[in-house]
C-alpha cells in the first residue's frame, strides 16, 4: 500500500538514498580491502602495499610452512580450550544465581556486568602491574608469601606456563558479564508453567535444572559457545598488553592476530605474507561462522 501511494517510479531512487551511503562504505571498506588482499597475497610486497613481483602461491607456502604460524594456531587451540569452557560455565552459573535471587537482584547483575565497561588495556594493566606482578609486592605473590611460598614470575616463566592463568583470568573477568546477560535473557524465556509442572512432580534443585532449564537453554548455549570460539580466535588485546614489554613480545604465546601483527606491521613489513596469512585466517573463521549458522538453524528447527 505504501508503495502504491508513492508511485513505483521513485522506489529505486529512494532505496539507494536510504541504503546507498551505508552500502558504498561497506563495499569500499570491506569488499575492496579483502579483494585487494587476495590479489596482494600472490605477490611480493615488502615495505609497500603495492605488489612488486608475482610469486603465485609462494606466500601461502611460506605461511603454512612457517612453524611460527602453525604455533599461533596451536596457541589459539590451547587458549580456546581454557577460555571457552570456563567462561561458559561461569556465565551460566552467575546467570542462574542472579536469576534465582530476588533480594538485590539488580545489584548483583550490575556487579557481574560492570567489567564489560572496562577495556582490555586497563584490565591488562591491573593484571600485569597489580595482581600478577612478578615482584613480592604483587597481590598473588603477597598471598603466596603469607603461605610461606616463594614469589612466582608469572609472565616470564614458560615451564610451567603460568602466563595462561594471567591471560585467561583477565578475559574471564572481562567477558563473563556479557554472556551472563545472554543467559539471563534466555532464562526469562523459559515458560513458567514448566517450573510449576516440575514442582507438582516434586522435582527440585539439580533435577529441575537438568530436566527443565537446561533443555530450554540449549539454543542459547550453542550460540554462546560459538560466539566464545569466534571471539577467542580474534584475541589480541590482552596478549599484546600483558605480554609485550620493554624488550618486545616474547617468542611464545602468540595467537594468530598477534603473529599477523608482527609479520605485517612489525620490522619486516611483509604485506605479501601478511595478506596470505589474513586470507587463511579469514577462510578459517568464515568456515566456523558458517558452521555456526548451520548449527543454529538446525537447533532452531527442533
Amino acid at each position: 500500500m505504501l508503495a502504491r501511494l508513492r508511485g513505483r517510479h521513485d522506489v529505486n531512487l529512494w532505496f539507494w538514498v536510504f541504503v546507498g551511503p551505508f552500502f558504498a562504505g561497506l563495499v569500499l571498506f570491506i569488499y575492496v580491502p579483502i579483494g585487494w588482499s587476495v590479489y596482494l597475497s600472490f605477490f611480493e610486497a615488502y615495505n609497500t602495499v603495492t605488489p612488486t613481483e608475482f610469486v603465485g602461491l609462494a606466500n601461502y607456502r611460506d605461511m603454512l610452512a612457517d612453524p611460527a604460524f602453525r604455533d599461533s594456531l596451536l596457541t589459539f587451540v590451547v587458549f580456546a580450550a581454557f577460555i571457552v569452557p570456563t567462561t561458559f560455565a561461569l556465565s551460566l552459573l552467575t546467570a542462574l544465581l542472579v536469576a534465582r535471587t530476588r533480594v538485590m537482584q539488580a545489584f548483583f547483575r550490575s556487579v557481574f556486568f560492570l567489567p564489560v565497561a572496562c577495556s582490555y588495556v586497563v584490565a591488562a594493566l591491573i593484571w600485569k602491574m597489580s595482581i600478577f606482578s612478578g615482584m613480592r609486592s604483587g597481590a598473588a605473590n603477597a598471598l603466596l608469601g603469607l603461605a610461606g611460598l616463594d614469589p612466582i614470575p608469572w609472565l616470564s616463566l614458560t615451564n610451567p606456563p603460568w602466563y595462561w592463568l594471567v591471560i585467561v583470568s583477565a578475559r574471564l573477568w572481562l567477558q563473563v558479564g556479557f554472556y551472563m546477560i545472554l543467559f539471563l535473557a534466555a532464562l526469562q524465556r523459559v515458560p513458567t508453567n514448566l517450573y510449576e509442572a516440575a514442582a507438582i512432580d516434586g522435582a527440585e534443585g539439580w533435577q529441575v535444572f537438568r530436566h527443565i532449564t537446561w533443555p530450554q537453554l540449549l539454543p542459547a548455549s550453542t550460540a554462546v559457545l560459538l560466539l566464545l570460539l569466534i571471539n577467542a580466535f580474534q584475541a589480541f588485546d590482552e596478549f599484546y598488553n600483558i605480554l609485550a614489554g620493554f624488550g618486545g613480545y616474547p617468542p611464545y604465546a602468540r595467537p594468530p592476530l598477534v603473529y599477523l601483527y608482527y609479520t605485517a606491521l612489525g620490522s619486516g613489513q611483509n604485506f605479501g605474507d601478511g595478506s596470505a596469512g589474513a586470507v587463511i585466517l579469514t577462510v578459517l573463521i568464515a568456515v566456523v561462522a558458517l558452521a555456526q549458522t548451520r548449527l543454529l538453524r538446525l537447533g532452531g528447527r527442533d
Partner: protein, 277 residues
C-alpha cells in the same frame, strides 16, 4: 515461586557474595594503585589500602606532562561520538530502506551485507590497513573513524527492528502525503529511541575500548586514543606505575558513569547484538 531448601539458599548466597568480592576486586586494585605513592606500590610489602593517600597523582595526570593524556582523551571522545552517531544514522537509514522499500534487488543487497557478518573485522585488519594506508589516512582521525562507520550487524538489527514496526502508523503518514524521507525522520525515528539507545550505547563502548585498529592506524602520538596511549606507557614501562593506574582510572570513568546511568539500554544492546534471532 518455588520452595527452596535451606542449604540451597546458603550455597547461593555464599557464591553470590564470593563472586561480588572477586568481580569488584580489580576495580579496588585500580583505585588502590591510582592513589598510592610510587614508593608504597613498589616496596616489598603488600598493602590492601594505600598507607598514604597520594591525591597529587590526579593532578599529575591532569597536568598532562608526565603521562600525556589530554590529546588522547580528546581523540577517543571524537572517535566514539562520531562513530556512534554515524553508525546510528547510516545503519538506521539502511535498515529502514531494506525493511520497507520494495526495491527489486533489495534481497541481493541484503545478502551482500549479511554475508560480511561471517568475517569478524579484527581478522581483516591487514587488508584494511593496506587500504587505509594507500588512502594516506595513517595517523589521521579520518583513518580511525571512517572504516568503523559501516557495521553490518547494526544494519541487520535495524532492519529486523523496522520489520516489526507497526505499518499502520507509516501508512497514515503516507496518506498525509509524507515521502519515504519524511515518514522515516518524522514518524519512525521519533518512535525508535529505545532501540537506537541500545545500539548506540553498545557502539560507544566498543569504540571507546577499541584497541587493535587504533594501534595499527594511530602511529603518531597526536593520533593516539586513550587505549593506545595507556598501552604504550604500559608496554614501554617508562612511566611511574601509580600515574599509570591514575591514567587508567581517568580513562574508564566515562564508561563507568555510562554504566551506572544507562545500564538498562546497555543490557538491551548486549541482548540484541549477542544472539541475533
Amino acid at each position: 515461586m518455588l520452595h527452596e531448601r535451606r542449604r540451597y539458599v546458603v550455597l547461593r548466597w555464599t557464591l553470590l557474595l564470593l563472586g561480588t568480592v572477586l568481580f569488584l576486586l580489580p576495580f579496588a586494585l585500580l583505585l588502590r594503585g591510582a592513589f598510592s605513592s610510587e614508593g608504597d606500590l613498589t616496596s616489598g610489602t603488600w598493602h590492601w589500602l594505600p598507607p598514604t593517600w597520594e591525591w597529587g597523582n590526579l593532578a599529575a595526570v591532569l597536568d598532562n606532562r608526565t603521562v600525556p593524556l589530554g590529546r588522547a582523551l580528546l581523540n577517543s571522545t571524537l572517535i566514539a561520538v562520531s562513530q556512534t552517531v554515524g553508525v546510528l544514522v547510516l545503519s538506521g537509514m539502511a535498515g529502514y530502506g531494506l525493511a520497507r522499500i520494495p526495491y527489486r534487488w533489495s534481497g541481493v543487497v541484503f545478502w551482500l551485507i549479511t554475508v560480511t557478518l561471517l568475517i569478524p573485522a579484527a581478522v581483516t585488519f591487514v587488508p584494511s590497513f593496506v587500504l587505509v594506508s594507500s588512502l594516506g589516512w595513517i595517523s589521521t582521525l579520518r583513518g580511525l573513524i571512517v572504516p568503523g562507520l559501516f557495521q553490518a550487524l547494526a544494519t541487520f538489527l535495524f532492519r529486523q527492528f523496522f520489520l516489526s514496526f507497526p505499518r499502520e502508523i507509516e501508512e497514515a503518514a503516507a496518506l498525509d502525503g509524507l515521502s519515504w524521507w519524511g515518514t522515516f525522520w518524522r514518524v519512525v525515528v521519533p518512535n525508535s529511541g529505545g532501540f537506537a539507545a541500545a545500539i548506540g550505547t553498545i557502539t560507544f563502548i566498543g569504540s571507546w575500548n577499541a584497541f587493535l585498529w587504533p594501534l595499527v592506524i594511530g602511529r603518531a602520538p597526536e593520533s593516539w586514543t586513550v587505549q593506545v596511549a595507556l598501552s604504550t606507557y604500559l608496554t614501554a614501562q617508562t612511566s611511574q606505575v601509580s600515574l599509570l593506574f591514575m591514567a587508567a582510572l581517568v580513562a574508564i570513568l566515562p564508561l563507568l558513569l555510562m554504566f551506572l546511568l544507562l545500564q538498562r539500554w546497555i543490557v538491551q544492546g548486549v541482548e540484541r547484538t549477542g544472539i541475533s534471532e
